[in-house]
Amino acid sequence: MRPALHVADLGKAFRHRTGQEPRSFRRWVENGFRGASSAERFWALRHVSFDVAPGEMLGVIGRNGAGKSTLLRLLGGVMRPDEGQIETSAPVNGLLELNTGMHPDLTGRENIIVNGVLAGLLRKEVEERVDRIIDFAELAEFIDDPVRTYSSGMRLRLGFAVAVHVDPKILLIDEVLAVGDLAFQQKCLARIEEFRARGCAIVLISHELEQVASRCDRAIWLARGELRGSGDAPDTVEAYIGSMRAETLQRSADPVEGDTGRYGAGEISVAGLEIIDRHGLPATAIDPGEPLTIRVSVKQQDSVGKWHVTVAVAREDGTQLLDMNSDTDGIDLPEMTQDRRVEIAVERLDLLPGAYRIDVGLWHPDWEYAYDYYPDAARFVVSGERGREGVLFAPRHWRVDQGEADERARNE
């Protein structure tokens, strides 16, 4: 059968942003009307070839920056390839960004028309489908209210409902499947399966490897813009995961010093760790329920854009008691272009008296591998009488019923 999508030796080069090319008219005039010189170009994507048959679902996996989004844009026809060709048997539709054309002052119904036309339908076609779309979005009661009164979940449902009523022959999907509540997600997945049964070719980009392995027929794995692997989806995903693990081990600068369990690629590393008590002084012991600040000094070898830091408090046997990380706490760490210091101030640490250790980790932004994972980087003691069972020291008051006689005696 003729493939729905045929990609042959595709390549796309971007100019390096050197800061030299004139970005303003003034600069251009000042440079003597000279444009960007044939500046360095790097290939965001190169020598990529694959076919997608009608009814087939192809997963695209790879790290951030591997060229997945560039591939999607080229397939969508919104960017021009520098090499190779894309042949399509039908117009390409995208499930990329939902709600692109949504206007908050228009009603849900009006926005359906706008979004449907912007997604590639004729106005007449959207009007024919409007009832089905409203049904799918489960928004019948609110459909004539302005969209600004909708919750974000409702907006997403509306956007998705429009997008899945375009009846595509070739569909590009970028991550969006992870939105909405579970029931709605299931509905959308069912709808996509329906497309597939009708012969729609689908290209899915996802970080959820599980999803790629289970849903896609085949997968391609991109690394630094080139095809690293392709084949059955589960096999490709497995190969990708395997390489990620190997990479973390391989990158470890100093393999294992003694038996510390420290590992990491070493672009940035933990240079020191201090425990600061409530007086702001370095300490090795605190009292139960006292505040505690953990200060991590990070040394920079290569510059790193985004990164995450984890700090865990653990018992001596390694049982983690408190796990803190900058990602889930929503902390945006500045780029590592120089050595930096990160402090976590814990307002109170209600741990039983005893000895504790701190594990620190510096991680790749996608948690793909560790820059430096340093267990047992420091120790501290919570002072007091040791030897009790349990983990926590909860601040507490005792109140004991003294009996009526005592009660009366006290009242007199």
């Binding site: 919104v78 990329l96 206007h103 036309v117 912007l118 590639g120």
Partner: protein, 270 residues
């Protein structure tokens, strides 16, 4: 190595006709969204559309009838016709400057015809122009306009102006993607253009030497033609209008081709 970049925008098998129909619908939807977003009710729409030119009209009328009399007959009509035509031009051009940069999510949508953005802006502002027509008619009637049969040429003049507007709109829209300071330069140029257009003064009173420069401004011919038709009830100067149309078409083809060529790289630059 095969080196044949193909763009799907031109590679659609569904054919040019349905692509054009889709383009038409996209423009309609964008205009509609723009208008609905601007005004919550039609009445308020008229009020707001009219408010700006009417305020300008009152200022100019006061200035040049009482403070510095210019002695132009039917001065209110004279100014208002010029202002309405100018407002269409000016609003569209200033909107077009940012229309690509400000709509990144739209231009990254497969099958979205990017060229619809400047066109939609021109059409939306034409609609706003239509909203001011009732007030324009009131002013014309109050001053005893002699408009008659030549009114049938009005659509032709509007078409000529649309060509001129689009020719410039495509250029600034595409150029601003590369040169971001165009957003600061264009308003200044527009201000210059406004004074180079006989809106509040009379072209007949301009000295010959200055006319040589002003004649390069296509808006001069357009504004004059509107006045001939709407105020004097005469036929427009077909030679001048024809030149504006042809010149506008030539420039439009060039700027559209530039826009089309540049549009493949919009996403890289935005």
């Amino acid at each position: 190595m095969s080196y044949r970049p193909t763009s799907q925008r031109s590679n659609l098998t569904i054919g040019l006709l349905s692509e054009l129909r889709h383009l038409r619908d996209v423009i309609r939807v964008l205009v509609w969204r723009d208008q609905r977003g601007r005004y919550t009710t039609t009445l308020m729409g008229v009020v707001w559309a009219v408010a700006a030119p009417v305020l300008f009209l009152m200022t100019f009328y006061f200035l040049f009838t009482f403070v510095m009399p210019l002695a132009i007959p039917n001065y209110a009509s004279h100014v208002f016709v010029g202002l309405v035509a100018w407002t269409w031009f000016q609003s569209t051009i200033s909107e077009s400057v940012g229309c690509i940069v400000g709509n990144q999510s739209l231009i990254s949508q497969p099958r979205f015809p990017v060229a619809a953005l400047p066109v939609a802006s021109a059409m939306s502002n034409l609609l706003t122009l239509c909203l001011t027509l009732p007030v324009l008619m009131l002013v014309l009637l109050a001053e005893g306009s002699r408009a008659g049969l030549s009114l049938v040429t009005l659509p032709v003049i509007l078409l000529c102006q649309l060509v001129v507007i689009l020719a410039i709109a495509f250029l600034v829209a595409a150029l601003n993607v590369r040169f971001r300071d165009l957003g600061y330069i264009v308003p200044i140029l527009l201000q210059l253009f406004m004074f180079a257009t006989p809106i509040f003064y009379d072209y007949a009173a301009v000295p010959d030497r200055a006319r040589a420069v002003l004649a390069l401004n296509p808006l001069v011919t357009l504004v004059q033609s509107y006045r001939e038709v709407l105020i004097l009830g005469e036929w427009p100067d077909w030679t001048a209008l024809g030149l504006v149309f042809l010149g506008g078409m030539v420039v439009l083809v060039l700027t559209w081709r530039y826009f089309h060529a540049a549009s493949a790289d919009f996403l890289e630059e935005v």
